[in-house]
């Protein structure tokens, strides 16, 4: 059995107040340099929701603008207005902060999120009007509490404040008095991840056109950890998000691998379906508060808006072969092994050229490569360069070395086989997977046949190993030879008809005699 990409969901959440209160660049600065110019200037650089809607990369992320169209827009993009400004796109939506805070409360099953009653009353109708929300989720939203009580919880009970337009409108309570794993800070981070994952799950299931009950397994591949002092990373984000999303027929588990997590999870999902263990598996991830405003100091220094003000989320539905949707080819897997080494050439070799060589393919047999799709508008001003472009240069260099392309075609390779990054710098979110939605569209349309998704992860950040990590997989056009529903192939049908004809002829001959 092959596994196919049935659909994908991509969502963004505009969280300007979380940039200020929860991004680690800002929280660290408040500890080490509370009177800094950066903290004073920061609020002036926060974008409005309308600004984020007219930001080109955001419109690409939710599917309203294609990667090709984005590539044709000269950089930088932060000073340009995208003519498409809808908050809804073919893949998902851009949710404003006020709706998201209500969604967070709906996703909390331990009565930890407390919202100001006036805030709930003011914004509940907006969330109810969101077409992706259903009655079950809306019914989970409470009336809220007095504003004074919210203020008391934050001042006296170590609760993490929830802010909107600079005002305290709620809080997340700690889930334990002394366990740091259940502190208000950690619960806030995890509930944000869960709520944005729920939004991505709902979008993906809707886009795939399947019933919620058809989902049998969910894999969460974010970079957060939930657990308590006895099992710090016990999990399970996947099942907790599936519960709120109403995926009642699903179980699930979490897969981690820093930014390489989504690519690992996709391979696992494809293998689970291909093995017959589960018919439909959804890979999902919510966003990360810690990375909000990560490169904010450089952006503010250069007079730019804070561009890292969006939480990202994605979900991909992987299902049994239907003879139509693009296939994940498990015979072409790239893997960075323990012994691969960390030199860029070794990394790209293990992830790109080695698996293609094993499959007898040239680099140019892959129409598009999707390595880390970080938005260069964010990374270039911060001195981190154009990450996708750096990956393409290395892939092209190895392609020259293998004789797949001429040296003079290096620049053309990036143009023809590359993409311009559009994903927010949310760690795991940009890592290869933002392209799956567009890849599915383009493969179904017949404009391309094969793409490679590449995920890379900085394992050394966990201080358990100095190793780097990476995994890649190939998605290609479906040959259309899926087994028929009843389990009878075209060949078998022909044999059955031939047998019936022979028997009929024999009967006629018998009658004639």
């Amino acid at each position: 059995m092959k596994s196919i990409i049935k659909g994908a969901g991509y969502i963004l959440v505009h969280t300007p107040d979380m940039v200020i209160h929860n991004g680690t660049t800002q929280t660290t600065e408040r500890v080490v340099n509370p009177e800094s110019e950066y903290l004073k200037e920061l609020p002036e650089h926060i974008r409005s929701f309308e600004d984020t809607l007219s930001y080109y990369p955001n419109q690409v992320y939710i599917g309203n603008v294609t990667p090709d169209a984005l590539a044709a827009v000269p950089q930088p993009w932060h000073d340009k207005k995208c003519p498409e400004t809808s908050r809804f796109g073919q893949f998902g939506q851009i949710m404003p902060q006020e709706e998201f805070l209500l969604l967070m409360q709906a996703c909390d099953v331990f009565d930890l999120v407390k919202l100001d009653a006036a805030f709930v009353a003011a914004h509940k109708a907006a969330l109810a009007a969101n077409p992706i929300m259903d009655e079950t989720i809306l019914a989970r939203i409470g009336e809220g509490i007095e504003a004074a009580e919210v203020a008391r919880l934050v001042a006296q009970e170590h609760s993490e404040g929830l802010y909107h337009n600079g005002a305290l409108v709620g809080c997340v309570n700690r889930a334990h008095d002394i366990d740091v794993n259940l502190s208000a800070h950690v619960m806030h981070e995890n509930l944000v991840s869960k709520a944005s994952s729920v939004l991505a799950l709902l979008s993906a299931v809707k886009n795939a056109g399947i019933e919620k009950d058809a989902v049998e397994y969910v894999i969460d591949c974010s970079e957060e950890a939930c657990g308590d002092m006895n099992q710090r990373g016990g999990g399970n984000f996947a099942k907790s998000a599936a519960e709120i999303a109403g995926l009642n027929g699903a179980t699930g588990s979490d897969t981690r691998g820093f930014c390489a997590g989504p690519a690992h999870a996709m391979v696992e999902a494809a293998a689970l379906v291909a093995s017959g263990a589960y018919k439909t598996v959804v890979v999902t991830a919510g966003g990360c508060t810690a990375k909000l405003g990560m490169n904010g100091k450089d952006h503010v220094k250069k007079g730019l808006p804070i561009l890292e003000d969006m939480l990202g989320g994605f979900a991909v539905v992987v299902s049994e072969d239907d003879g139509v949707n693009p296939v994940i080819d498990l015979s072409i897997l790239g893997r960075h092994t323990v012994g691969t080494g960390s030199a860029p050439q070794a990394v790209i070799g293990s992830l790109v050229t080695d698996p293609l060589a094993r499959a007898g393919l040239k680099v140019t047999d892959v129409d598009k490569f999707s390595p880390e799709m970080q938005n260069p508008d964010i990374t270039k001003p911060a001195g981190a360069g154009d990450v996708p472009l750096a990956n393409y240069k290395m892939i092209a260099a190895l392609a020259v070395k293998r004789g797949d392309i001429e040296k003079k075609d290096l620049a053309k390779f990036t143009e023809e086989h590359g993409l311009t990054g559009w994903a927010p710098t949310q760690g795991h979110i940009p890592s290869g997977v933002p392209y799956i939605g567009f890849a599915r569209n383009d493969i179904l349309a017949g404009s391309i046949k094969r793409v490679m998704i590449i995920g890379k992860g900085s394992l050394f950040l966990g201080r358990m190993t100095n190793l780097f990590d990476g995994v890649s997989f190939v998605i290609e056009a479906n040959s259309g030879t899926a087994p028929a529903e009843a389990g009878v192939s075209e060949e078998e049908v022909k044999k059955l008809i031939a047998k019936a004809m022979r028997e009929f002829a024999a009967t006629l001959m018998g009658q004639a005699e």
Binding site: C259, E372, T379, A384, V387, P430, S458, N466, F468
Partner: protein, 43 residues
């Protein structure tokens, strides 16, 4: 031996550029003493 021979070296690699370990090996092969080496992630 090059300009790094006998020098103490601090290495900060970039996960999307040249990782610390690779720079470390180069520096050592050029005769340097690597006193600190790390790879950082900026994305």
């Amino acid at each position: 031996m090059g300009i790094l021979a006998g020098k103490k070296v601090v290495v900060i690699g970039d996960r999307d550029g040249i990782p610390g370990q690779a720079i470390e090996l180069c520096a050592k092969s050029a005769g340097a003493e690597v006193v600190f080496s790390s790879t950082e992630c900026f994305v």
